[in-house]
């Protein structure tokens, strides 16, 4: 897509690369937050969980900063074509990445409410699920930085795996709750964690669609989009 040619106005290129850098930073921080939240969950590390909650503020501030810069670039540089699409995508991606950070924060906030749940089998499943979601976030932001539509498409395809994990965890936890009603509170928290991770996967897919649009100028064809997760009816 990018012909590798620089803009005649070099400052425009500087603005763009700075923006990409900020988005990458947001992505890195969200990934880290998710990773730390999952480790805190797995190890019932309340200190780490607290750290995740606090660090989410940085992501929020970055998002505000990115938005401000995008508005400035639009006003001053009047971007066109792929530049314009990239600006619009960056604006939306920043919002989505901020949401991902929020989900990580949500997970971390639940940890103090739970007893040590390491014994529950579903937790290890959750960690694996979160790993996939994290990779999706990582890859899709790489795709944005590299303006690579193919990578974005592959990220979308992986959303199915996250959804499968979710369905599996859902069934496991429901079974677990039915086995012992005393586990219901614990399991409900874990279910919400699973739901949060599943949402992160969806958001990664959304970002992938935006990357695809920014790079190609076209909407991602429907068949390549991740299926909407369906909460299977209990029973």
């Amino acid at each position: 897509m990018n012909t590798g040619m620089d803009h005649t106005v070099k400052a425009f290129d500087d603005d763009l690369s700075e923006l990409r850098g900020m988005i990458s930073e947001m992505g890195g921080r969200s990934e880290l937050a998710l990773d730390q939240a999952m480790r805190a969950l797995a190890n019932h590390d309340l200190e780490l969980a607290e750290k995740v909650v606090v660090s989410d503020k940085v992501i929020d501030e970055l998002e505000a900063e990115v938005e401000k810069r995008i508005v400035q670039v639009m006003a001053l540089r009047a971007p066109m074509a792929d530049d314009l699409r990239e600006m619009v995508a960056a604006m939306k991606i920043a919002g989505v990445v901020e949401r991902i950070g929020d989900y990580a924060k949500n997970i971390a906030k639940r940890i103090p409410l739970m007893t040590d749940s390491r014994s529950i089998e579903a937790v290890s499943l959750l960690v694996s699920m979160a790993d996939i979601a994290k990779e999706m976030v990582h890859d899709v932001l790489d795709a944005f930085a590299a303006r690579d539509a193919d990578v974005a498409v592959r990220v979308c395809e992986r959303d199915q795996a996250v959804d499968d994990f979710y369905n599996s965890i859902f069934r496991t936890l429901v079974t677990f709750m039915m086995e012992n009603p005393r586990n219901i509170g614990e399991s409900a928290h874990l279910l919400f964690v699973a739901k949060n991770i599943e949402r992160i996967g969806d958001h990664a897919t959304n970002v992938a669609e935006m990357v695809y649009y920014a790079v190609t100028g076209d909407r991602l064809p429907d068949r390549e989009r991740g299926e909407n997760p369906t909460d299977e009816p209990v029973g």
Partner: protein
């Protein structure tokens, strides 16, 4: 993919150009351009300086005839009539395909005479009353009537640049053309005057087929529905303005409109 229009696929074109090449002496200024001009839309020609967009515009009403070394090959038709055929009278053609130029160029005559000149030489008005009507209607359509109605006998050159350009548009409208060609009509104007001209173009759309050449891509984006990108005498891309500016298909177009040209 965006809804693409082929350069020559307009269902009911006002003007059609097929395999048009223009030479200045031995130099080829336009190379094999085929394009349709839609009758209900504003078509913008964009491209870097020297890309041939103005040259091509001037072939559409044979203004290039005045340059002795210019030579045009290919077919250009106005409603199916070949405008370069011997049956086409060039004077009538230029009345049917009017032109507005880069620099406002009112005649050094009164405002009234500027507008009345075309109808007079073509005998479009019978008597003073009808001529008055044409002048008033043209000035109204050009959005200039309210500003000049009390001083129609003042010299056209005494108006401000933007008013002069609108006077030139009124002068072109006065002969009731079918197509209006505009060659960078705002390049000498300030942003407010430019905005007024753009609004005027918007209002004239549909009544006349309008072709505008502009250096200002934002302007092309604002006023046109179709955009053609010329580069080195070639028509690189022609499409819906929204597509050209959000999702050009050709790399050269993209590099030009995103400011990477060159």
């Amino acid at each position: 993919m965006p809804d693409s229009i082929s350069p020559t696929g307009t269902p009911n074109p006002k003007m059609t150009a097929r395999n048009v090449s223009v030479y200045y002496g031995d130099k080829k200024a336009i190379d094999n351009v085929s394009i349709d001009v839609d009758r209900d839309n504003v078509t913008a020609f964009i491209g870097p300086s020297g890309c041939g967009k103005s040259t091509f515009l001037r072939t559409l009403n044979r203004m290039n005839d005045t340059i002795p070394s210019a030579r045009v090959e290919g077919d250009i038709k106005l409603d199916g009539e070949d405008i370069y055929s011997s049956a086409m009278d060039v004077v009538q053609l230029r009345a049917r395909v009017g032109m507005v130029f880069q620099k406002p160029n009112p005649f050094p005559k009164s405002i009234y005479d500027n507008v009345a000149y075309g109808p007079k030489i073509h005998g479009l008005a019978e008597g003073k009353v009808e001529l008055d009507t044409i002048v008033e209607r043209s000035l109204k359509r050009a959005g200039l009537w309210e500003e000049v109605k009390d001083r129609l006998t003042d010299s056209g050159t005494a108006l401000s640049g933007g008013q002069q350009q609108r006077l030139c548009i009124a002068r072109a409208i006065a002969v009731d053309p079918e197509v209006i060609l505009m060659d960078e009509p705002c390049s000498a104007l300030d942003p407010i005057a430019t905005a007024k001209i753009e609004e005027l173009i918007h209002e004239l759309r549909g009544r006349y087929a309008i072709v505008i050449v502009t250096h200002n891509m934002q302007q092309a984006a604002r006023v046109s529905q179709r955009t053609a990108f010329f580069h080195l005498g070639n028509l690189v891309e022609y499409g819906q303005t929204t597509d050209i500016f959000t999702n050009p298909r050709e790399t050269r177009t993209k590099d030009y409109i995103t400011g990477r040209y060159g």
